[in-house]
């Protein structure tokens, strides 16, 4: 039997080495999936939960809502009645309720905290909408004309982005970043320690073939991660992809290169396999937090968002979200892909400069 090509043989050897390494498989696939199940399953109806509103005394606006508006109001708010304003505010402060509402003359006063930012935003937006609606209704009633403008209340967030939609692209980005960076760091260090790098240097194969095989396997692992995430998300948690989701494939390919480069850098500056993996972890985990892999960054301070814009994972996550669930067109991924590619190039050059054949 003739042998497979050097490229095929190397790719197979690397792939087998990965699949047989339980720790790597756990961190590349199982661990991120645990987060997907956690976010997608347990917290799935968090954003459908109602805003708990304590109505203090009579509030004409709420009491006098027409039937259809009342229905809409009840969809957003869970109303409880009270006569004690101070007690109501205390409850809001403790977090037992989200907002206390009272009427002072013609003014509607809402007491809420900023602790739960999403609910605070919903409260503000929804109450404003109801006040505007009431004003319009009153004006049109006074003039005897039907209202020119009608108002429909809508949730302040992007309607399609239920939890699973939001978390899948970000967690996937984190999973890919993690396995690409760890894989590159551990391979470089491991092969250096065992002198396999030297041994390959003495075999009649080009560096391009060796690197090509390593990249191919890592990209294949990333695409498998994509398939598993989409498959599980769709089957178990109702993930629905939008038109250009397939752009996530080239995005992940470029992203993989970028995080492999980070892993190479970690492998180049460390002297042991553990050191390399720890260094990769030290980079990837904070980056995942700051790139919105675990929670949205919209409500974070500006300086934090500025930092996150310097991180490649942020661009991958955003672009993945755009094409996978926000319904953006394929071209929306081009700029992020350019950023990721530039990042990959620069980091690879730095890693190549710091690279040593030996650890001592």
């Amino acid at each position: 039997m003739t042998s497979p090509s050097a490229f095929t043989a190397l790719s197979l050897a690397i792939l087998k080495g990965f699949v047989r390494d339980k720790t790597s498989v756990f961190f590349a696939v199982i661990f991120p999936l645990m987060f997907l199940v956690l976010f997608g399953g347990l917290f799935s109806d968090q954003d459908q939960s109602k805003v708990e509103l304590i109505q203090v005394g009579g509030v004409a606006l709420v009491d006098g809502l027409p039937d259809d508006a009342r229905e809409a109001f009840d969809e957003t708010f869970e109303v409880e009645r009270s006569d004690d304003l101070d007690a109501a505010i205390a409850e809001v402060r403790k977090g037992d309720a989200d907002v206390a509402l009272e009427q002072q003359g013609d003014q509607l006063v809402a007491h809420y905290t900023q602790t739960e930012q999403v609910k605070a935003a919903i409260t503000q937006g929804a109450l404003r909408a109801f006040v505007d609606g009431a004003n319009v209704a009153q004006l049109s009633a006074e003039s005897g004309q039907p209202p020119t403008f009608t108002l429909e209340t809508e949730r302040v967030e992007d309607e399609s982005l239920t939890t699973i939609q939001f978390v899948t692209p970000g967690l996937l980005g984190w999973a890919v970043a993690m396995s690409a960076a760890f894989g590159a760091a551990a391979t470089l260090q491991g092969w250096r320690q065992s002198k396999l790098l030297r041994r390959l240097q003495l075999a009649p194969v080009s560096t391009r073939t060796v690197v090509g095989a390593r990249v191919t396997v890592t990209v294949a692992i990333a695409l498998a991660q994509l398939a598993i995430f989409i498959g599980l998300g769709a089957a178990a948690f109702g993930l629905t992809l939008t038109g250009s989701w397939w752009m996530s494939i080239p995005l992940l390919v470029v992203g993989t290169l970028c995080f492999m480069a980070l892993g190479l850098l970690a492998g180049a500056v460390t002297t042991t396999v553990e050191g390399a993996v720890n260094a990769a972890n030290f980079v990837v985990l904070p980056m995942a937090f700051l790139s919105g892999s675990f929670f949205p960054l919209d409500a974070t301070p500006g300086w934090l968002q500025a930092i996150s814009n310097a991180l490649p994972l942020k661009h991958l996550n955003e672009a993945m979200m755009d094409v996978m669930v926000r319904g953006e067109g394929p071209s929306s991924a081009l700029v992020p892909m350019g950023i990721l590619a530039a990042f990959a190039l620069v980091v690879t050059l730095v890693a190549a400069r710091l690279f040593r054949w030996e650890t001592s």
Binding site: A13, D21, K195, A203
Partner: protein, 300 residues
Amino acid sequence: MTRAIEVENLTMTYGTLRAVDDVSLSVEQGEFVGILGPNGAGKTTTLETIEGLRRPDRGSVTVLGQPVWPRNAGLLPRIGVQLQASSFFERLTAREQMHTFAALYGVRTSVADDWLERVGLVDKADTRVEDLSGGQTQRLSIASALVHDPELVFLDEPTAALDPQARRNLWDLLSGLNDSGRTVVLTTHYMDEAEVLCDRVAIMDSGRILQFDSPSALIRRLDAPARITVAPGQLQLDEARRIDGVDEAAEGSDGVVLVTRQPTVVVSRLAETDQLDGVRVQTGTLEDVFLDLTGREYRA
């Protein structure tokens, strides 16, 4: 015929340390050569420079008539290398390692299987390298260095860290390596190993090659006296001192010990008087050669 290896005035430094100091060495094709020296002598650095892994700081290295630096792709299929570490792919079985290396050299898979058999690893073919014993790992390592049937083979301490039994088992394999005219260069820090396996031995210490010759010539040149031990009760001490050629005689725990530079004369005299029973003759060893060259004990 071109020489297998030609090293001229090679010097290699790590920072201020001269790991290899003005070494010259030539190896003919078909020779089995050993580089013998204690740890830190510079054996690995010398070997890796000859293989083309390191750029010579000074001097030149030619292998099979061609320069090895910069990386000479034409030479790679002609040389086989076992590095001083088990350079294998993680978590692959012995057979998978061999098949992968075969593919890297464009060799048929069946050749890789033949090598597994030749090094006695057929029943370990499906065992992962991490689970092989030290001796089995070394066998696999040697097999993967030879899978493409190279003309010139480098083995860096193939028997290091093996127990004496496994070491001797490996000698059988090693001694057959150059039967087909292949050139073998091996490093070792075991004297007995160099003596048994090698046609010529380069004795190396502190980056320098002190002597390079066949083990017997090295010992002969040492001109060390032989020690002849005669079993107790066979020979009186004063009688022993009167024998022609005996320089010194002393009573030892296992008999009378005669020190002589003419062992043949002394032994034939003992034969004439029928005093040969239980006689033991010890000539110089490579260890004595090392002691003579460096003025200190050999510590591997």
